[in-house]
């Protein structure tokens, strides 16, 4: 362990909250997805740090599962962005505030 675990946790928390504020403040659907990516990466950093702290490889394996989940999520959500933009011609989140059954 090259640095204290507390510093890794603080760094990861800062990254996570940056991603959260990106999700909350931006109106562009692409930027909201980028915020989700930032948050997932912060979680991965915590997992790798914990794996180094307890000298176990399990945390790194969970990062791999996290990456697979992210790939699936990005594929689906970008397809939905393309679909919505083809339907309405915009990707601003405020324009998609109604549901029609």
């Amino acid at each position: 362990m090259i640095v204290p675990m507390a510093h890794i946790l603080a760094f990861s928390a800062a990254l996570f909250i940056m991603g959260l504020s990106c999700v909350l403040a931006r109106r562009n659907l692409i930027m909201i997805l980028i915020g989700v990516e930032i948050m997932l990466n912060a979680v991965g950093l915590t997992l790798v740090g914990a794996s180094a702290l307890w000298h176990s490889v399990d945390g790194q394996i969970f990062v791999i599962f996290l990456m697979a989940m992210t790939s699936a999520e990005v594929a689906i959500s970008l397809a939905m962005v393309v679909y919505l933009s083809r339907r309405r011609g915009t990707i601003t989140a405020n324009d998609f505030d109604g549901m029609k059954g």
Binding site: A6, R27, V48, A52, V57, F65, A68, S71, A72, T92
Partner: protein, 166 residues
């Protein structure tokens, strides 16, 4: 030495992420985020996870971010995030919320610092990693492969062009 590099890379990643979330042009945001991912991959390597570092570059920077870039270029999005009203009205509450959350988290971390210094550096070789992955988590690997298949089929279904439309 590794400690100094960790802090340099950490501040680089934080700065690149901060630049990313404030850009108005999505292409610039994606480029800054790729920079942040490179810094994060080096941090993973320093923490003893070389395989995860390689996958961070390959999957995140190489595949996911390029997918974002392709979609942005395909939709021909000009930098047209609208600016109704002043910017602080949108960022002010979020910055306040983030400051409170980050402050509480840092207080918790400072109050109970986990002793991790002094240990020898941990290094997971790809061999250990592969044995652990395919022996203990074999079922999970198969479930993840199903998940990726369903995601591919779902993305194709959502993104298809209907016959009457075009």
């Amino acid at each position: 030495m590794a400690t100094v590099i960790f802090y340099i890379l950490g501040f680089t990643a934080l700065a690149a992420t901060a630049m990313c979330i404030t850009r108005r042009n999505p292409v610039h945001a994606v480029i800054y985020l790729v920079n942040a991912f490179f810094a994060l991959a080096l941090i993973f390597y320093l923490l003893g996870a070389p395989l995860v570092a390689a996958w961070e570059i390959i999957i995140y920077a190489g595949a996911i971010m390029v997918l974002f870039l392709f979609i942005i270029m395909m939709l021909e999005l000009a930098p047209t995030e609208e600016l109704r009203g002043p910017g602080w009205l949108r960022w002010g509450p979020v910055v306040l919320l983030g400051a409170v959350l980050l402050g509480c988290t840092l207080l918790l971390v400072v109050a109970q610092p986990m002793a991790g210094t002094g240990d020898p550096a941990y290094y997971a070789t790809p061999r250990d990693f592969g044995y652990a992955l395919f022996e203990r988590y074999a079922l999970a690997v198969q479930i993840v492969s199903f998940q990726l298949l369903f995601a591919a089929v779902g993305a194709y279904y959502v993104g298809r062009v209907e016959r009457g439309r075009r």
